[in-house]
Symmetry: D2
Subunit: 347 residues, 4 copies
């Protein structure tokens, strides 16, 4: 039976991507989409790409009765950080899955929110219940989840590259550098001076140096994988492309190791994963465009004693909405891969 889906905060890029994925999903049907600033606008007017699939869908304002009125089985929340924690408690119900795509339920330690997000959490009691939506780490928990916190896009990328190496004890938990580059869609839809075409095209630059909010989330995941405190320096860059994230991660081996041994560890970790490919060449963001697939690899440099682990994915698909659908599939008891492209556009 097709599940009834609502999207709260559907007017952003992750909302548009959820609508794209749901249009091709055999078991999900979007019956409601809210977008407060766009309330009353046809989805197809804001995103002409949706015209053939959602000709009649109109963004509505959010209200507390939304989920019940539409008898929603599943709610995706694509709200700015801080906004979800106010709304999610109203959406939760025994027979409903809520998948949050924001930051509000990702960090388990409530004390980190004031530091990294500038305000105390208003629903800290839910943090323990929220399941972190990374099937490669938490698949079993996701099967019974009612509240899912979809990871940040950079976080999924860095985690997929490094977690198996840390779990296997192959690299040191300290001194890790995550140097990453993202396409511009990661900055969201609203126009800003630093995301105009003329600011970004033909430009490459770093931003958020030392202070990017995905830092504690990367550390949380890698600490979980390592079983020891992990600290990373995370440097994001903006690349002149729509989509895609590449993380190039540097770590110190715990003992001399070869490139082959590193890749064996990755292959062993991901052998049964439908959406992770271990490659022998450097991963390319373009090879993941529009798909829910991540590509990973690793290198050991004997000369300098560094391990380099790399991962690439589409920040809006595997790094956001696709990952959210994958987790939702698990929580709803559907085929984990239902509706999710494993092959992306090329070129």
């Amino acid at each position: 039976m097709v599940k009834r889906v609502g999207i709260v905060g559907a007017s952003g890029f992750t909302g548009a991507e959820l609508l794209r994925l749901c249009a091709a999903h055999p078991d999900l049907e979007v019956v409601a989409a809210t977008g407060d600033t766009q309330a009353g606008t046809r989805a197809a007017d804001l995103y002409p790409s949706l015209a053939a699939g959602y000709g009649d869908l109109v963004f509505e304002p959010f209200d507390d009765d939304l989920a019940d009125r539409h008898a929603l089985d599943l709610v995706f929340c694509g709200l700015p950080h801080g906004a979800s924690q106010a709304i999610v408690p109203k959406l939760l119900a025994a027979d409903r899955v809520v998948v949050d795509l924001g930051a509000d339920f990702r960090l388990k330690d409530a004390s980190l929110y004031p530091t990294w997000y500038g305000a105390a959490h208003t629903a800290p009691g839910l943090l323990a219940d929220a399941v972190y939506g990374l099937p490669e780490l938490f698949r079993d928990d996701l099967r019974s989840a009612r509240l899912i916190a979809t990871p940040g896009c950079y976080v999924t990328t860095a985690t997929l590259a490094l977690a198996p190496l840390l779990r296997a004890g192959l690299v040191e938990p300290t001194g890790i550098v995550v140097d990453a580059a993202s396409g511009v869609s990661g900055a969201g839809r609203p126009p800003k001076p630093n995301t105009t075409f003329c600011a970004v095209d033909e430009d490459f630059s770093a931003y958020g140096l030392l202070t990017h909010r995905h830092t504690p989330e990367i550390e949380q995941n890698l600490t979980f994988a390592a079983g020891a405190d992990v600290q990373v320096l995370f440097t994001p860059h903006l690349a002149p492309m729509n989509r895609g994230i590449l993380a190039t991660c540097y770590a110190r081996p715990t003992a001399p190791i070869s490139t082959d041994a590193l890749r064996d560890a990755l292959r062993s970790a991901y052998v049964d994963e439908p959406f992770v490919v271990v490659r022998d060449e450097p991963p390319s963001t373009k090879a993941t465009l529009g798909s829910n697939t991540a590509h990973v690899t690793a290198y050991a440099d004997e000369r300098t004693g560094w391990v380099v682990a790399l991962a690439a994915l589409d920040n809006l698909t595997k790094g956001a909405s696709g990952g959210a659908v994958q987790s939702a599939n698990l929580a709803l008891g559907l085929d984990e891969t239902a509706g999710l492209p494993i092959v992306g556009l090329y070129p």
Copy 2:
């Protein structure tokens, strides 16, 4: 029952796009793919985007027994012009559909091949049997087709913009200008001096002026629609993007007409079409990215007495491989929309 599919000439961009679409198609399974210059190469090594879906697929060389050996129900041919006419006769069989993506069976008048393609046709007897793979014009014929000639990408675009206006007698058949721009994937995979990144990025230029081979094919379609000889001047341009075609077409109205009346004619023509959207705003190639959907509109300019008709689509999907799958679906008796994205990526 799933249909067994072969792709001859699968190593080009239309081949990669066919593999993408078939990976999500419920009724098609690719069991063979040839690529003479790439024979022995894993598809996923040439196109890493295919890695998660076609990990084991290896390009094989073509041989005459290919279709029988693999018991193919459907063969897509993505060969350079001239090459298909040598191979297609060997592929045809009573219980098999052959969908050619090249130019060899598009023009009905065999005498046009020497002029536009530089050589006489070697299988002219098949031209009458080949059904032109544009469902919006030839849906009924496609249902019983055994040989399908998929239109050129520019041709589909210009035809969708102009055919309804000509059929309804709203514009004159003479003096038409089709001014179009395409993304670079239309030029194919092999590296050429004029398709390197450094040649194309930040550039916009015209090419093939007066002599582009899609000209007679546009004229053939529009003559069919108009019921009178149509002559067009076609000017293609190269735009710095991967995919997408926009055609901006200029014609003279047969009598004073309004913008509304033009759009009414378009809406009337396309009301039941699953993959054509008539819009009130100028169509955008990006709104069609990765989907099989075309967007069209028209304007009447009282001041200068011109009609402007515009269409946008993804040259590799609706303009090539997606159109080919749509036609194949019809010929195989499947749901016409099976496996075809109606919503594209944004952004």
Copy 3:
């Protein structure tokens, strides 16, 4: 002796381009730059590209005494349409050249302003005195000009392609189509929903259909060249690139003509022009990037009876600030080419 230059409205892209050009100009020194919304901001903070050349320049607010206080020999005005006509009368002085880069003094017929710009002109008495800043048409007048109206970017492009053919009587003045594409910098610096990277990148679309404000200005120039009323349909497109305009223009020959004869007419017109190159290949915007050079060519199509004339240039250089400096050089009695790049970046 170095001329003292002020730039009013310097915070936009044409202002930044003027600052770039003046930095390499042997005879011009920028001593004042205004930018009301950016007053107090260092130019190098808004445009880091200026850091090495203008480390100390701070945008100041405009005031009526600006030109006298700074003893300006030359004022460039880069204000939105409507704003220049209020300010220019205050800047004019016997010993000073004012070069307006906006639309306010381009159209000679005051009655056109309400139609195309939505308001009556407030200084119509200056329209007759203003010299249109296109040296290829009005070089002699520019030598004695005190007020110069720099053409619109599309207008310069279309005029350079068509004016010689019309002047020579080779094409008909009616039924002309100007189909053009521009890079995104033409839309200016302020962020807008339709000029974000994610809206533009990988997109090609038309805009301003039938109603773009450069239309009457193209007609004014071509009417001047033809000596007869010219009417054009102008269709601009937005291409995913920073800079560059290509105009592809369609006209009817007055008598059968060859491609060679068209190019002879262009070569004859431009033989002594330092910034116009007549080519035998389709012009490319990239070949003009960052230079003050325009490339033009033409084709005659016997089959359909159309003439196609094309021109390419950099919209911010030859199409705006470079053209403005060229005109200023003439008015100040300097070498017309001083400080202007004739060779652009490649790639």
Copy 4:
């Protein structure tokens, strides 16, 4: 008196950039340009951007008498590695400056060539005489140089970011990571499968992992600056843009240090440099486009104990041809900044 310039291997991108810069240089005039594979071709046909400045320049084949026949004061060599060492000895003369843009004279230790370039050096006696063309490190030596080895583009970038910190003893010489991204022009003009538009556009990926040839050259410079052996892991990436390099460098502080102290060290090092700007924001490649200016900055992260130093520049200007002209200016006794843009294009 204007110096007579020859360019050997002028048909590549660094050659085109040298021609651009020389066209605006008051003291240099290009009188000969060789390009063996392009011999007989007009420079303006290969690079239409040169049409207005070099309408008559034709690439000629190289011969041993070239420099004498043309009475060259200055020869730029833009040949592939290995080719320069065969030709440069023939070009050297007491009254002539030879500026090599390739790798052949960059490494002082002849034993490194077999390891990193695959063959023994054939003119090792010249290595000691060659002056490394980085004025920020070797200005005095350049004033009397007859043979100049222009640095690799990545090398200039990384060196400008790190050398002052190493020289001041602020960071450790071991364990350094240089993570960098370059535009595609760094790969040169000839078409290759991995530099087509469709391979690069919308892609970001690493390449040359662990083995890029600029590694020993970065180490040579930084060892010179540190006065102690420096070892770096260098990871280049390819970004979808024409020009520009950003290096994000990670090093360990020798003692706890602040961001301010790092920037003070940079400012102190570069206070008199005409082409290096120290900024308080992350540098952007676009801010350097087409200019000879480099932007640098640094950050100290107390939390993780890392120092991050960043530099951006235009790989074809400051990173190649502009740096070469700067060095040539010094060697010829000209103004060091003559003919070199300090302000780049924006946008």
